[in-house]
Symmetry: C2
Subunit: 119 residues, 2 copies
Amino acid sequence: MLDLNRVGTIPGGLTKNQALVLEIIEKAGKPIGAYEILRELGPRGIKSPVQVYRAVNSLIQCGIVRKVESMNAFVRCTDAHPHRGQTTILAVCDRCGTVVEHHDETVDRRVAWAEQEAF
Amino acid sequence: MLDLNRVGTIPGGLTKNQALVLEIIEKAGKPIGAYEILRELGPRGIKSPVQVYRAVNSLIQCGIVRKVESMNAFVRCTDAHPHRGQTTILAVCDRCGTVVEHHDETVDRRVAWAEQEAF
DNA sequence: ACATTCCTGTTATAAAATAACATAACTTTC
DNA sequence: GAAAGTTATGTTATTTTATAACAGGAATGT
Ligand SMILES: [Zn+2]
Ligand SMILES: [Zn+2]
Ligand SMILES: [Zn+2]
Ligand SMILES: [Zn+2]
């Protein structure tokens, strides 16, 4: 499971727990915290935070989920794309909480310098 | 204390605790967590997390300290500038942890759209 | 079958942040 | 200067977020 060659695709090759967590994140439609995911999945057998965190981290590795650092929450990526090399900006709506992901090439150039300097 | 008209200036008008916390953040020279600040200031009378968080939040309001969300840590702003209206990018060095703050006008333009849409 | 690797479950603990309440200090206003 | 209002402080307890450590189970390749 967790095929790194299929980064960004909507995979059928997800683990049971990974699929469960992804389902909840998608259903939410906006950033959702790990413990809220846990509550939602309690009735379906997920009983501890580690299980959620493991699944979420796998999904992030896959490139289909992002962490919104400022909210300690996780959100589904809208389209299939690799997060490696391409810098992204997350815009979070103050009202409804919806997230729009920008793939800003200008920022890429700006950050390129930083990467040269090992940032 | 905490004069919002003097945002971004190196103020003499800081509270005792605010001054203590700022001193530690400055001495660190890189992002430092609230609980590490607490440990450093224990010998000087700061005994609880709330005290640190209160001071740090005030300093952020003043615009002289920033939170690095991805690290749960706080860093001194290198130069005096308002954080309102001007979007900034924080580049964190993988090796030494030093932070460089970019004031990217291009990003400003990009985000302007988002603000129009109430993001 | 055997070794390897990855996913799983469980318990306990760490790390980060806030809630709630009481007191002290500093300003205004009269 | 006394009363009232505001802001900073101290203290205790609790919540929220995240990881450590260990044991068992399922898949995969040889
Ligand atoms: Zn994405
Ligand atoms: Zn909205
Ligand atoms: Zn700054
Ligand atoms: Zn460096």
